[in-house]
Symmetry: C2
Subunit: 348 residues, 2 copies
């Protein structure tokens, strides 16, 4: 009998790099920064037709649940699963396992991120099928690897052996120094670890039981009542799934992605996915531009007027305005840190 195809979209992330549009109460995955739909909406709608709506789950925290339900009316409200608190991805996925076992029984489960951009929907769904077929046939834990296009030092790498659409994982490599990243880029055997996985519920349980039983035992002892979940969840060690499980398990395969991917890590990165006009300007909202080139205006409720400027990124929110240059936007992080240091939490 074919196992049902399940998708879990992790949507509990927080970030500061899309300030002032992203806030504690509205992180990046809830923003339409790469198009007219939010990243969360794009992530779920990319699965339409390939997954039954009742088999698509979104995992987030209580304070973000309302935003998730509002953006995803096509999902049963009960499919928005609530993590009692953020404790990194190992506890989060262990909770998903237990919830999906309880609700669906058995199945093959894809773990996706709500705040990534993915191009080529057909290629993506095809790669998902390859991974799901492989996981079902072999019992392997499958991870997607993004073929690197630059010597990124901000991602972990997956080292594989062999050729073909599915390869055996030799090792997970931590975020490398630059020289190492260059070597990875040139090797042909290394891909970026984008945190997307495929496994059957049965094999995931077996792997956790073998390599990370402390992530499972408190949840297995949980009585299933929402009120007592927080106490059980609070016992799970705060670890990423890569360290808690993937680096330890022997039965791990990688599917090198044939789809285009971006984690959309900054305002300049988001620009790549927006259509620019003949002057290279990206305009969302109301703007009057004179003598202006290669700028991006993420407008709010007001007119933005620009004259004689180039290369700027302008983000307008009700209570704050950001102006930065597309080549010097790393300062946004420092702005947020300063606001935090000054206790201006109403702006974060």
């Amino acid at each position: 009998m074919t196992q049902p195809k399940l998708a879990v979209v992790m949507a509990g992330g927080r970030g500061t790099r899309f300030w002032p549009r992203s806030r504690a109460a509205l992180p990046k995955q809830f923003l339409a920064i790469t198009g007219t739909e939010t990243l969360l909406e794009q992530t779920v709608r990319r699965l339409e037709g390939a997954f039954a709506p009742e088999h698509i789950f979104v995992l987030t925290t209580e304070d973000l649940a309302e935003a998730a339900r509002r953006q995803l009316p096509e999902l049963p409200p009960g499919n928005i699963l609530l993590e009692p608190e953020g404790r990194n991805t190992a506890p989060c996925l262990a909770l998903c396992l237990v919830e999906l076992e309880r609700r669906v029984g058995a199945g093959v489960m894809a773990v996706l991120s709500a705040d990534h951009w993915i191009g080529d929907r057909e290629a993506f769904l095809g790669d998902l099928d390859v991974a799901m077929d492989h996981a079902t046939a072999t019992g392997d834990l499958v991870v997607f690897g993004i073929p690197p296009t630059s010597p990124e030092t901000g991602y972990g790498y997956i080292e594989s052996v062999g050729e073909g659409a599915v390869r055996k994982v030799a090792a997970f490599r931590e975020k490398p120094p630059f020289d190492q990243a260059v070597a990875y880029l040139q090797s042909g055997r290394h891909t970026w670890n984008a945190g997307m996985f495929v496994w059957t519920l049965k094999d995931f349980r077996a792997a956790l039981a073998a390599h990370a039983p402390e992530q499972l035992a408190p949840l297995d002892a949980w009585d299933g009542a929402p009120a007592s979940l927080a106490a059980a969840y609070g016992q799970l060690p705060k670890e990423p799934i890569d360290i808690a499980l993937m680096e330890k398990a022997g039965n791990v395969s990688v599917v090198p992605a044939r789809f285009r991917w971006s984690d959309v890590g900054s305002w300049p990165a988001a620009l790549a996915f927006q259509d620019a006009d003949a002057n290279g300007n990206v305009v969302l909202g109301d703007a009057v531009l004179v003598d202006t080139k290669d700028c991006a205006f993420f407008g709010g409720k007001r007119l933005i007027a620009a004259a004689g400027v180039e290369g700027l990124i302008v983000v307008d929110a009700d209570d704050a305005l950001l102006i930065t240059h597309r080549d010097r936007a790393q300062g946004v992080k420092e702005i947020v840190e300063r606001l935090r240091a000054e206790g201006r939490t109403e702006l974060l």
Copy 2:
């Protein structure tokens, strides 16, 4: 008997170069763009001690009267004189003449502009005394001339003969082409016409009667009732006082200014009068700046955050935001023209 010293501050101007802060309902003279006080407040407070408050008059239009009264609580409310409509400076000053004759009888009157910046208050008051003494003693119409510091093509010039603190005017020269402006700059005999005048009421009446009787007759026939002023005023030809009178009168002298002066014609010009921090940034309002140099932030009700930008001028208003570069701010004019062409009058 010494004649009373009267000051008339012309505050009816409209402009677009300080959009979005300046609006039809709040033109430049009502804005604090050169310091913490508005240009109108600075203009009137500069006269304190030298003129009795009841002898300082502000001429503006009905829709701006409330703003003028609010900014100038030190003046008797009745000293805010109302021009029924904007008809250029000759009608405006003829109306002042008639009003001041009615209220004060006789006196020597200084005509000042509400939207100019003037440095060196003592030098300015000293020059005013020189001009008033000369006008009283000789019956001349006196104009202030600003010694040029650049070959400006946007100002009219006053050509004088002789030396000293008061000189005979040989001619008024229209806004020149650039080469002519360079010649004026080098001549030592030309000063900028900043539209500031001194004359006695008696001599101004005599000059108007001789050279521009059409500016006077309808007002002399007016019965003095506010309700009938508009009809009389509407008969006065729309002309600047320079053309209607000054170019025709023979008894005109110029006082070369010893005070520093600016008509603050643009956002970049206004910056020159604001204190910058160690990075060259001028900040009015709430701002967080990272890696930012030589910028000016005229804030509104929201935080402005900037990272990695240089040389920008940012002006935040409730319903519009302007971003321009200090070296390319001439585009502000085109922004306003476009908004007008699009019928977006609520933004003007």
